[in-house]
């Protein structure tokens, strides 16, 4: 396994915590023609507070990897820690609680509940975390403000454009202040300009909230937003590059 890791990046930021740490992760799926190996030993380390992008050809295992990282898919072997916790090793209840409190999700298809208002959709993660309804909705409105949808809280999602719906999804992913946000192709359902704006928004808000962003994407136009690019091929991480410019700009900003 010749995979490079981003450990040097974490070291450079001194005491910064590690958001994701995977070692030798494998995952196979059963099929009629025998097992399909989606992950063949993944080593990956993502420092906290960064925007990490996972890129690679179709079928190389990107979605599988972030599913394992987020704890919604069981790995076959290896270890995987999110902020030092091995989700899979936790009792089932705590697994769910950990996911509910620590991880935010953004999906390609948004997966907003169509019959709920925008604000109620955004409030859902808080409700899952047993925040009172009223408080949850207040915080949802505040988060919508941040993503530029201040006046749209009472609309149904269907009245919003694709870009606006993805902004709702971002608000939902961030509303409970999770430390890690995983996104699968967050811009691929959007046109180019909208995608760029969404990405800029995601980076700004994530930086603001101090969260870590793990994005799977094919969309090379959003690559400049990354602090770190992990390239995958055939179930392995084959290359990791740190984008010094972006990370440097970040550190300069946070040092002010």
């Amino acid at each position: 396994m010749a995979a490079l890791t981003a450990s040097s990046g974490a070291a450079s930021s001194g005491a910064a915590a590690t958001a994701v740490m995977c070692r030798g992760v494998t995952k196979s799926f059963a099929s009629a023609a025998g097992p399909v190996w989606a992950l063949r030993g993944v080593d990956l380390e993502i420092p906290a507070g960064r925007v990490a992008m996972l890129v690679g050809p179709s079928g190389c295992g990107k979605t599988t990897l972030i599913s394992v990282v987020a704890g919604i898919l069981k790995r076959d072997a290896g270890t995987c820690h999110v902020f030092e916790a091995d989700i899979e090793a936790l009792p089932r209840r705590q697994q769910l609680d950990f996911r509910a409190s620590t991880i935010g999700f953004i999906f390609q298809q948004f997966h907003l509940l169509p019959t709920l208002t925008v604000a109620h959709n955004v409030a859902v993660p808080l409700l899952i975390n047993a925040v009172s309804r009223r408080h949850a909705i207040d915080r949802a409105h505040a988060m919508l403000e941040k993503v530029g949808l201040g006046g749209r809280g009472d609309d149904p999602p269907a009245q919003l454009s694709g870009g606006e719906q993805q902004r709702v999804a971002i608000a939902r992913a961030l509303v409970h202040a999770p430390k890690l946000i995983v996104c699968d192709e967050p811009t691929s359902a959007l046109d180019h300009d909208t995608g760029m704006r969404i990405m800029a928004l995601m980076r700004d808000v994530v930086v603001d909230e101090g969260a870590t962003l793990l994005i799977v994407t094919h969309d090379n136009r959003i690559f400049p937003f990354a602090d770190m690019m992990a390239h995958m091929d055939d179930g392995r991480i084959v290359d990791v590059r740190l984008n010094g410019g972006a990370a440097g700009a970040r550190e300069a900003l946070s040092g002010q």
């Binding site: 972030i66 919604i72 769910l96 609680d97 950990f98 996911r99 999700f105 999906f107 390609q108 859902v124």
Partner: protein, 384 residues
């Protein structure tokens, strides 16, 4: 999250309406059909309800239901009166006879002869004339339906004449004069009802049918009717039943010997199945269409237990609305049909029955939904 579940349900109008229509249909059929059934069954013993005074009815051992008329010997009356615990016992004549109307038409009628002196067994509510008028020569009382419609006759010009007080017709070729009109409960055989005194009834009856039919018995103060009935039975060898037992004997007869319960049973079953299919299918689709969202919720850490509760609440609320509407429609139907020939008795037990049926539908629907969400793999959220 329960609030969210309800928002999901009420937000999807089309599905909600389909589910509610299914449940409403089932609840309506499962309430209305048994109500008609019970209404019909209650008619089979309506005569007992019209004669509430006696505690015990004595009859030929072969009698199986209220309108089965078998002769008793006249001596039976004396023997019954001799049984310990009998406060009083009066005779009653009951049989079908033939009336000849002024236009010559022949009509079958249900003739009741009530005790000459006490008039016990007479119609419950006389609306014109009085019960005592039966003492007048050849006097008979008709029920309202009979007077107005069933025994109405046409003259040569084709004009319809209802029978009124003072009008005459013939019973087995003997003169009968209408002296009063009475309301009676609708019964099952729906023949015109004619009341007269016991002794005159024997005169009207043809020789071979001059018979004592029932002996109506009142128990002495403090005497349990069931005990008295048993004692009369033992002492006389006749069938002696409390009004309650006679009612159930009659119900049992009609239930066993007619297709009525089967017919209604089939209707109820069909209503249940169709309603369950529509509601179950719609609810299943409602859950299925939201599976992507449910998977997202599961990925976000929502527990299965909460999801199960959400689906249960959705099923129960939709079922509750449907049940209310079904029962409401059934009650409206019953109200609209009041005063018509239709039998309808929406008893509280029937509401419990249809409620149980709806609960079954809701449970099955909820189970189908719950199975989907519980088995749902949250990892599918990233597979578009």
């Amino acid at each position: 999250m329960i609030h969210i579940a309800l928002e999901m349900l009420f937000g999807d109008r089309a599905k909600l309406i389909a589910i509610v229509i299914g449940v409403t249909f089932a609840a309506l059929i499962m309430t209305q059909q048994p109500s008609i059934f019970v209404g019909l069954i209650m008619r089979t013993y309506a005569f007992l309800d019209d004669v509430p005074m006696p505690d015990v009815w004595v009859m030929d051992p072969g009698v199986d239901y209220v309108e089965e008329h078998k002769p008793l010997r006249e001596t039976a009356l004396g023997r019954v009166r001799g049984v310990d615990g009998v406060a009083w016992a009066v005779p009653m004549y009951k049989n079908l006879q033939t009336a000849r109307l002024p236009d010559g038409q022949l009509k079958a009628i249900n003739l009741t002869g009530v005790d000459d002196t006490s008039m016990i067994g007479g119609p419950p509510k006389v609306v014109a004339g009085s019960l005592g008028d039966l003492r007048r020569a050849d006097g008979v009382i008709l029920d309202v339906e009979a007077a107005r419609r069933r025994l109405a006759w046409r003259d040569a010009e084709g004009v319809l004449h209802p029978l009124n007080i003072g009008d005459e017709f013939e019973l087995n070729d003997r003169r009968a004069v209408v002296v009063a009109i009475a309301e009676t409960s609708p019964d099952f055989i729906l023949l015109p009802k004619v009341f007269t005194t016991y002794s005159r009834a024997l005169d009207y009856a043809p020789r071979q049918a001059r018979q004592l039919t029932y002996i109506l018995v009142k128990a002495k103060e403090g005497e349990a009717p069931a005990d008295l009935a048993r004692r009369i039975s033992t002492a006389t060898g006749l069938k002696a039943l409390t009004a309650y037992d006679f009612r159930w004997l009659t119900i049992g007869y009609w239930m066993r010997n007619t297709g009525i319960p089967i017919n209604f049973g089939i209707s109820v079953m069909l209503g249940f199945l169709v309603g369950a299919a529509v509601a179950g299918q719609s609810f299943f689709n409602f859950v299925r269409e939201n599976l992507g969202q449910y998977a997202a919720l599961k990925a976000m850490g929502l527990r299965n237990g909460v999801l199960v509760r959400m689906v249960l609440v959705q099923a129960l609320v939709a079922g509750g609305i449907g049940y209310g509407m079904g029962v409401g429609l059934s009650a409206a139907f019953g109200t609209a049909m009041r005063g018509t020939v239709l039998a309808f008795a929406m008893r509280p037990e029937l509401l419990a029955f249809s409620f149980a049926g709806v609960l079954l539908i809701v449970s099955v629907a909820a189970l189908l939904g719950i199975r989907q969400v519980v088995q749902l793999d949250p990892a599918v959220v990233f597979r578009s």
